[in-house]
Symmetry: C2
Subunit: 361 residues, 2 copies
Amino acid sequence: MGPSTNYYIHRQRFTLYRGASLPGVQLAWESWGELNKDKSNAVLLFTGLSPGAHAASSVRDPEPGWWETMIGPGKPIDTDTHFVLCVNSLGSCKGSTGPASINPATGQPWRLKFPELTIDDIARATRLVVEHLGIEHLHAVVGPSMGGLTALAWLKHFPNSTDRLALISSACSGTPFAIAIRSLQREAIVTDRNFRDGTYTEDEWPEVGMRIARKLGMISYRSAAEWQKRFGRKHQDYFPATLFGMRFEVESYLETHARKFVGQFDPCCYLYLSRAMDVFDACDSDAGLRALFKRSFSGKALVMGVESDILFPLWQQQELAAALEAVEAEVSYAALPSAQGHDAFLVDSERFGPPVAEWLE
Amino acid sequence: MGPSTNYYIHRQRFTLYRGASLPGVQLAWESWGELNKDKSNAVLLFTGLSPGAHAASSVRDPEPGWWETMIGPGKPIDTDTHFVLCVNSLGSCKGSTGPASINPATGQPWRLKFPELTIDDIARATRLVVEHLGIEHLHAVVGPSMGGLTALAWLKHFPNSTDRLALISSACSGTPFAIAIRSLQREAIVTDRNFRDGTYTEDEWPEVGMRIARKLGMISYRSAAEWQKRFGRKHQDYFPATLFGMRFEVESYLETHARKFVGQFDPCCYLYLSRAMDVFDACDSDAGLRALFKRSFSGKALVMGVESDILFPLWQQQELAAALEAVEAEVSYAALPSAQGHDAFLVDSERFGPPVAEWLE
């Protein structure tokens, strides 16, 4: 949370999709560009599992955001003409209410006492900020990765509320491979000796579990082909050798990413969001996805993904595009040859930029 | 180790490839079929990381072996005409000397005091059994998975000692993706609270680490496409739900495999063998692999792999086949469309059987 973060505080009880409720909700958000007079130029951006609302830098906060190359004046999501809004997901720990927040009833962090969270809840909480800003209709909704699931949940709860829709490296539900990866990440966290059923402290943090979860994440976010080219069998000397580890460059690469992540994300928030991704399913019946689009969207859609993505494979993008086509939305479909796997949308702006710019134009 | 296991005990000091030595070596082995008079019909089978010498059942031990469908009378590796030998790898824990064996100097298991093990050592220790049986020249060497690395190490140390060579779902070295997977498996084991620098006991076993390692193994051994078809998003009710786990069938599948494995393999043996796989490299220079084959093999080779293998991808089989072709060996190359990923050689005998039978004929 930086100097450009805004907080919206909803003081009423917020009922979750599974029935439990929160006594109130705080949502961290950032925006770029100006909302025009009739509030018709808003682009709502949903995030992946771990990023916060800081998607791009601004005058108030020059720190680069997680989609720095995509958002800004003259960039693919052009803030000279659009008002871009990004809200930290409900359940996350970057300023919004989640398992790491204080439960006002106890004065302690919620941790595992937080009620079950769904992707639907993230969409519905985000709506509070949109309404707070007086935006009744969106120009566009953009959902990369988990954000694509949230975009689908948005359509489900707020049909026909956006003219454009971009689903990027996403899906209508998790594959068993993706569920297996996430399940194992969670297992590493909950079995960490410091996790202790969510009663970890700052001094005794489930670091090992979070490190393993992050490394496993990186394995699923990138691609074998990229690593072959980038690391091959090169040795590393950046970290001291560990017991049966830290000989190869790929090992130090994973270690660097893991160390950065451990202090930046709350383990319980990770667990709740990860499980919400597994459970979400907008294509649970053959006709489910088409029916969803039919009653909720008729504008201009963009569906993109990359060939090397093993977490949200290309056939899932094809499934999304086919369902949109079936309801006669205007669909652009782009299957990109990026080598960086699922993470390509974050790093391969050369390939991702032009289709996004064209779709939003 | 069953009723058909034989043990060869080498009482002299055995010097390892990296220079350290073991006071003696025990090797567990099994065989099928009869060695002919001139001892010219021997097929030496190397194993993957975790299997023991029990590759197939026999009259003495009807328990199915790990390659039951491939070895036996009238099967692709036909024991009516061949004498098939399989030795438990040095460093393993299925009857051969390894980190789980007793160090005679201390009366305690070696554990982390075991010297560094290489794939070369596995090949060289296997040679002791071959010599003990009086076999001077092999009819064939078969190496699936890690066994393929061992087969290459065999050629390196014992050039021109076999007429035929089969490298199955293998490689000349590990990719950074494979190293990342194995490194993370090892990290899960050594950070288990019960691992305690290798001083774990039967009552306090690093179960969690071994379970995570095995599940990660399964993720890398199978394929996303197979799981999509087999599990989809089906729910499970076989295991009680766990904290953020055990909702989906893919989770109970992994749990079943992991539980089976935990009691069957020693954690330190796993670490040593896993690291040996990372470090082995028969193609460390451009000309390395061709040079190895040139001076060590001129017979009939078979190289096989499957399209869905992410651990030993097809391009690595192509690399092996190309190097064999370059030295003018007779090479059959088969890229199979099996859905079961790296494990296909263990389960898809319909596809793997015929090329092996034809090559060995």
